[in-house]
């Protein structure tokens, strides 16, 4: 069952379209990530779900209840939707306990018990309940903000780039903790972020936004390997995109013959490969392999565990245009034992190439 249903949402600020016909369904208990560059309208969408903004037209339904449509609107405080903003936004005039207990009703004793439960849930010590927000580290502030949002047992949790202010190491740990906590609690969650790696790792379902439009939605792996267009392909990670001639499920390109995932397509097209699909082996002057081609390492970008290599292919006649090309590729290799600059390598491919639609 779908917990959240967004249907044909439109919103303009002045004459800029912030949201343009956005529709999305999020299944109950799942985690969705909305990802896109700044200004793509993702935060507007989130604020609209929370009830801080209202659409010009379209409707939002949660668990079958209409939150907004052309006739009705439920104000933010009656939606029971949790919201964790980028900086945590803790109330500076309240202690940690005051912040977490803000939305709770009941006797002080029952409140305190619930606050302690919530602190334990986000892995903070009980003694911290008397601390003030300014005494906490960034990660602790985010945990308190999360506990505060969890306190009222929300029907939906909205996370607006909650990890972006944290250090790299802490960020991944927090992301894991939050994902685990929320799926254990069975709370449907929407994360907004401009960090594609974060979105890919966090979500069951990924939605890519660009210029107010929802470009593509689906499981992260699906979107990563089969993006709808070139921009989405490049937004979700490094990509090798090149012209090819496709026929009978095979693409002929500068890299040789590669199987494609669109057997029905035939004729000239652009194909996409992820750098990790390319495999390098040192060339020992043996006969040319059936699959693949030769190239020279022109640059090595050592990054610790991963080494990004620039490989210039040997000049060859392009399969599509018939012109001679000097193509450069980015290839990922293990940081250990990467071939040195200037050496000749053999490039082979793993898996299928993706044919970019309409490109």
């Amino acid at each position: 069952m779908n917990a959240l249903e967004l249907n044909a949402l439109y919103k303009t600020f002045g004459n800029v379209a912030a949201l343009n016909d956005v529709s999305l369904c999020v299944p109950a208990g799942s985690r969705a990530a909305i990802v896109g560059p700044s200004g793509s309208g993702k935060t507007t969408l989130l604020r609209m779900i929370a009830g801080f903004e209202f659409p010009d037209s379209g409707s939002i339904r949660l668990n079958g209840q209409t939150l907004v449509d052309s006739a009705n609107q439920v104000p933010a405080h009656q939606r029971l939707i949790g919201y964790v903003p980028q900086d945590g936004a803790l109330f500076p005039h309240m202690t940690v306990a005051g912040n977490i207990g803000f939305g709770l009703s009941g006797t002080p004793a029952s409140k305190q018990q619930r606050v302690e439960e919530l602190l334990a849930m986000v892995a903070l010590e009980t003694r911290m309940s008397k601390s003030w927000p300014h005494e906490l580290s960034g990660g602790q502030q985010q945990r308190v903000a999360l506990a505060r949002a969890l306190a009222q047992r929300p029907r939906l949790m909205l996370l607006d780039e909650p990890f972006s202010a944290l250090d790299t190491g802490l960020r991944a740990a927090m992301r894991k903790m939050v994902a685990k906590l929320l799926s254990e609690a069975g709370i449907t969650t929407i994360l907004v972020t401009h960090d594609q790696a974060e979105a890919l790792s966090f979500a069951d379902q990924l939605a890519v936004m660009r210029q107010g439009r929802l470009v593509q939605a689906g499981p992260p792996m699906e979107l990563y390997l089969h993006p709808a267009d070139r921009q989405t392909a490049l937004f979700l990670g490094d990509a090798v995109i090149m012209p090819a001639q496709v026929e009978d499920g095979w693409a002929t390109c500068d890299l040789g013959r590669i199987p494609v995932n669109h057997p029905s397509h035939s004729g000239p097209a652009h194909i996409m490969l992820r750098p990790e699909q390319l495999h390098l082996t040192p060339e020992h002057g043996e006969a040319i392999h059936a699959n693949g081609c030769l190239g020279v390492i022109t640059d090595r970008d050592f990054g610790g565990n991963v080494c990004t290599l620039t490989v210039e292919l040997h000049p060859q006649v392009c399969a599509v245009s018939g012109q001679t090309t000097n193509r450069s590729l980015l290839v990922r290799s293990s940081g250990l034992g990467a071939p040195p600059t200037g050496s000749t390598v053999h490039i082979s491919t793993l898996g299928n190439a993706h044919v970019l639609p309409g490109a």
């Binding site: 009705n72 104000p75 405080h77 936004a89 005039h93």
Partner: protein
């Protein structure tokens, strides 16, 4: 537990929603009455300006020419312009020098000098000139005017400049030096330009005080527009002569406002980029330079604090117990408290909607309202008082010479003080926090009460305190407007000095200074805190 209830509520509202939809789509429900109150307050603030314009039209051009273009007015104009032109640069130089010494050098006892540079604010301007007249009886004229003005008003420049110096990003100075600038060049080319806003703002405040002050100049017999209007009013009550002088004075204030806003420019000086700022660099003073540098704060403190305290002490010792006429002093204290608390309360309450609007819904209307309040606040107390005398006599006779009129004058004169503090307070509570509160189940008005107003409370208290202080030391409007029989500390002090009973005036001055001290301390700590230290 609360969940089903909330859902039911949601459904109920959903049914009722269509009727109110167009309102609630844009703004939280509170916005309408806030706008209405803000407009009412700002229209009220326009009264004095309307009076000046109205009275000019009523008087007619021929009479205006006769009253304005005469040697006496030229003499007043020259006096006033000379006072401003000589005092302002001296105040700026003194304020900047002291701020630099106390903020950016290793001067011994910098904290003490910083406190002592703020403290003269606690001494009302007319008490400063009382002290100098006591010390050097023949003192009078332009020189005396400039001397006492600089001493009484330089803290208005010191405070903002010191606060800005503390807040500047030291990295900019590091970069300038790495680009080959010598230390003195760094100061003049990089630091000083960034102080422009603080200097402009402080200079405007001092300039407006120079135009508006009555007691200070009356006591040392230096004629400015304000003293002339006051004399004119006392001799011929509400005559056109006083009104026209008030018109010229109002014009001077508006000219000063526009000069300030022109020199302020559009530049913004803020720390760009993330990361926490590092502490400021300090200039190490050595040997005889330290001695030379120490001379400035010592000399200034002697003039600005030593002279008033010593002369007050002399009068109190000379007067003995006889000058403490409790039958007079206690009622004055009580009335001052009454007026100042009522005025502070009313002014802060009136400023609240205007401040909320300017932070939460900035727009063209709000800017217009703000400039109304700004212009009025620049008009001297005497113009406001004249306006209210005229208007109450002609339109609202029942409130003529009542406390209502006095409180109204305080409201018009001191609204911006409450406004500035309140605005800073409300800005402490970003709208995001209100949103969070709403997502946690608080209705918009609950969110306003539980979050925004709680966070703005210190700002509101500071604003109210500033207004309280201003009313305690207010002389001109109170003299003109208060019902007969009213005696505040300031008017009591004035009555005594007018009878040349300086010893009897001393207890009033002492009480005013003591009352001002905690608030001066507040001002001092506030300027430290805005700097984020």
């Amino acid at each position: 537990m609360a969940e089903p209830l909330l859902l039911k509520d949601a459904a109920g509202v959903a049914q009722a929603a269509p009727a109110t939809r167009s309102v609630s789509r844009r703004q939280p429900g509170a916005a309408r009455w806030v706008v209405a109150v803000s407009i009412a307050v700002s229209l009220l603030a326009l009264l004095p300006l309307a009076f000046v314009i109205g009275i000019s039209i009523q008087t007619g051009w021929a009479t205006i020419v006769q009253l304005v273009f005469r040697p006496r007015v030229a003499e007043l104009l020259i006096n006033t312009v000379l006072l401003v032109v000589i005092t302002l640069p001296l105040c700026i130089a003194l304020g900047v020098a002291l701020a630099w010494l106390t903020e950016r050098t290793n001067l011994p006892g910098r904290r003490l000098w910083s406190v002592l540079a703020t403290a003269p604010i606690a001494v009302p301007a007319f008490v400063h000139s009382y002290a100098w007249v006591s010390l050097v009886p023949p003192i009078h004229g332009l020189f005396a005017g400039v001397l006492v003005s600089v001493i009484a008003y330089f803290p208005f420049l010191y405070l903002p400049v010191a606060a800005t110096l503390r807040r500047l990003d030291p990295a900019i100075e590091d970069v300038a030096e790495s680009l080959g600038l010598k230390p003195w060049a760094v100061f003049f080319k990089v630091v000083l330009p960034q102080l422009r806003l603080a200097i402009c703002g402080g200079a405007l405040l001092v300039g407006l005080h120079l135009l508006a002050e009555y007691g200070l100049y009356a006591m040392i017999r230096f004629d400015t527009f304000t003293t002339a209007i006051f004399d004119q009013f006392q001799s011929s009550f509400n005559g056109p002569a006083a009104n026209m002088l008030a018109g010229v004075l109002a014009l001077c204030c508006l000219v000063m406002l526009s000069i300030e806003s022109a020199s302020r420019g559009h530049a913004r000086y803020a720390r760009v980029g993330a990361g926490s700022a590092r502490p400021q660099r300090t200039q190490i003073l050595k040997g005889h330079v330290t001695g030379l540098a120490l001379a400035l704060p010592i000399f200034t403190s002697l003039m600005a604090l030593g002279v008033p305290l010593v002369t007050l002490g002399q009068w109190l010792i000379a007067g003995g117990l006889d000058v403490w006429r409790m039958a007079d002093i206690l009622p004055a204290l009580q009335q001052t408290f009454l007026l100042a608390s009522a005025g502070a309360l009313i002014t802060t309450a009136a400023a609240l909607p205007v401040a909320w609007l300017s932070i939460r819904a900035p727009g063209r209307l709000q800017r217009l309202l703000e400039s109304c309040n700004y212009v009025t606040s620049s008009l001297p107390g005497i113009v406001v008082a004249l306006a209210l005398v005229t208007i109450t006599i002609h339109i609202a006779r029942p409130i003529y010479q009542t406390l209502v009129t006095v409180l109204l004058a305080y409201l018009l004169m001191f609204l911006p003080r409450a406004l500035v503090s309140l605005r800073a307070g409300i800005a402490q509570a970003p709208v995001e926090l209100e949103n969070i509160a709403r997502s946690l189940g608080s209705s918009p008005s609950q969110a306003l009460w539980r979050v925004t107003l709680r966070l703005a409370a210190p700002g509101a208290a500071a604003g109210a305190a500033l207004v309280f202080l201003a009313i305690t030391n207010e002389l001109t409007a109170t003299l003109l407007l208060a019902p007969s029989g009213t005696r505040t500390l300031a008017t009591g002090f004035w009555a005594m000095t007018s009878e040349i009973d300086y010893a009897a005036a001393a207890p009033y001055a002492l009480i005013m200074i003591l009352l001002s001290l905690p608030l001066t301390a507040l001002l001092y700590y506030q300027s430290k805190r805005t700097a984020g230290r």
